[in-house]
């Protein structure tokens, strides 16, 4: 007698998939934004946190069994998930569950991405999903994972890797793949110094670090890797290159959204954070976060609408190519190509350009802020100039390779 009900694709595929989001990265290259929080919890885009993009992709795709592997400084992340993501129903077999290192197997924290899975092999055993989707908690992109899962099943693949074309210059930062006509991966190099372009083109095919594994194959490969003392226990570096010749590995190119080319950003550095923020401000942004059919969920406090006022002295306020979040108040000031998070105050005569100001940042009267990332709770005094005198700025603040100035949370001007 058959005990399990036969389920038909595609809902069966989604139901039989466990999603594991790796959210444990230390984010040292995002410091000081990661001074008090894990990388996935870094605020982004006016009212989101970076993790909201991946989580929204999951629930919008119909993937609703989600384990988040956390590690460092997870308090902000835990609180955000509790506030914004307590939306799935355990009673329906849906969950978002955070798992800090249990130290069941190792008495250490995760050594690499594959080690994070190895150390959670008990959870895989408990869930026994047919497929395991492995995602990263620090990417900005919109993606429907359901067609990727369908392609994985259709190809009878052991591993399917989401892929995007990048320039040869960018390619040195990623895992680069070569594929045959059927998208089967025939070569994989992690962070190659001399990346191999797509035949007949200038671009390379990069791994997005978004994987669908057939769970049993995943377990075998991760266990083998765990026992290899020479391994760094990293998927891109150690596990995947070894699978290319042994297993059925396929690439799945990330489709574009509407008429836009495919967009995916790994928020690894302060510069990439700033650039991805500026991308949102383009007249026709490469990523459409206002698509009602693919909402990006987050937690929003109960704050009033944005207020824009004019005082009697400083002329009309000007806000151009910018995003302004709830609770903010702009009074006779100029804001250009900037993202203002919740509850910011821009005082009369102030000028803010190409900047990201997080929650409760206040820019005093006549102050000027240019090309800066300002973390929460910073009060910029009246008349202060930020981003105009590189020498003075360098003595006070961290400045990135691309010249972006970063002011840490709660910084007090002396």
């Amino acid at each position: 007698m058959k005990l399990a009900m036969e389920r038909s694709a595609p809902s069966a595929l989604l139901r039989d998939t466990l999603t594991v989001i790796l959210a444990g990265g230390q984010g040292t290259r995002l410091y000081p934004l990661t001074k008090h929080r894990a990388k996935p919890a870094v605020p982004f885009g006016g009212m989101y946190r970076i993790i909201d993009f991946t989580l929204s992709n999951c629930v919008n795709s119909g993937l609703r069994r989600i384990m988040l592997l956390t590690q460092y400084k997870s308090f902000s992340l835990d609180r955000h998930l509790q506030q914004g993501w307590s939306i799935l129903r355990y009673g329906l077999g849906e969950f978002i569950i955070q798992i800090p290192p249990q130290q069941r197997l190792m008495r250490s924290w995760y050594e690499g991405t594959a080690d994070a899975i190895f150390q959670n092999i008990y959870n895989l055993e408990e869930q026994r999903p047919k497929y395991t989707m492995i995602l990263s908690g620090d990417h900005i992109y919109l993606m429907d994972y359901a067609p990727m899962l369908a392609a994985h099943a259709e190809n009878e693949a052991d591993l399917t890797i989401a892929a995007i074309e990048v320039t040869k210059e960018e390619a040195t930062r990623f895992g680069i793949m070569q594929v045959d006509a059927a998208q089967r991966v025939i070569g994989f190099q992690e962070k190659p110094s001399n990346p191999q372009p797509i035949p007949g083109g200038e671009t390379c095919l990069a791994s997005m670090g978004v994987y669908v594994f057939t769970t049993e194959v995943l377990v075998h490969r991760v266990l083998e890797d765990a026992k290899n003392t020479k391994s760094d226990h990293d998927f891109g570096k150690n596990v995947i290159p070894g699978m290319i010749t042994r297993d059925r590995v396929f690439a799945y190119p990330l489709p574009g959204q509407d008429d836009r080319p495919a967009y995916w950003r790994d928020i690894g550095t302060l510069d990439s954070y700033w650039e991805a923020s500026m991308d949102l401000l383009q007249p026709d942004p490469p990523i459409n976060i206002s698509d009602t059919s693919w909402p990006i969920r987050t937690f929003q406090g109960h704050r009033p609408p944005v207020r824009i006022d004019q005082d009697g002295l400083h002329g009309a306020p000007q806000i151009v190519n910018s995003m302004v979040s709830n609770g903010s108040h702009v009074i006779s000031a100029t804001v250009e190509r900037s993202i203002l998070f919740t509850d910011t105050i821009i005082c009369p005569g102030a000028h803010v350009s190409e900047s990201v100001l997080m929650d409760r940042v206040r820019v005093g009267e006549g102050a000027k802020v240019r090309r800066a990332l300002v973390d929460k709770d910073v009060d910029i005094p009246a008349g202060e100039e930020i981003g105009y005198d590189p020498e003075r700025d360098r003595r006070r603040f961290l400045i990135t390779d691309k010249g972006i100035l970063v002011i840490p949370r709660g910084y007090v001007f002396g």
Binding site: L105, Y122, E125, V219, A226, K227, T229
Partner: protein
């Protein structure tokens, strides 16, 4: 000749394995509980560990995880009277899975293979 650890809660089985494997030229240590076995793995670098699963207290699968934490490249042969654990992901961390039998031929053969790897 290799250095082998046998972890099994059955005293007579430990004696039998010790006798048989010593005759094959191996040096054999034994442990009657998972914790005793883990402690031995911590102190000694064995060429292979023969591990029972169903034991009072800590079972063999849990012990396997803890032994991996001690020595990532440890070679373990699961030796259980039951084949049901073959499906358990954790058992896949072992090199081999041999179901217990009065005839030790298969166990000895797998042991030789594992040591040779």
């Amino acid at each position: 000749m290799a250095r082998i650890l046998v972890i099994d809660d059955e005293h007579t089985l430990r004696l039998l394995y010790q006798h048989e494997l010593t005759q094959e030229g191996h040096t054999v240590d034994t442990a009657g509980t998972a914790d005793e076995g883990i402690a031995k793995v911590r102190d000694t670098e064995y060429d292979a560990v023969i591990l029972d699963i169903r034991m009072p207290g800590k079972d063999g699968l849990e012990a396997l995880g803890e032994m991996l934490a001690e020595r990532r490249n440890i070679k373990v042969i699961i030796n259980s009277a039951y084949s049901t654990y073959k499906d358990n992901f954790m058992s896949w961390a072992a090199e081999e899975y041999v179901v217990k039998s009065s005839d030790l031929t298969e166990l000895k053969q797998k042991l030789a293979e594992v040591i040779g790897r």
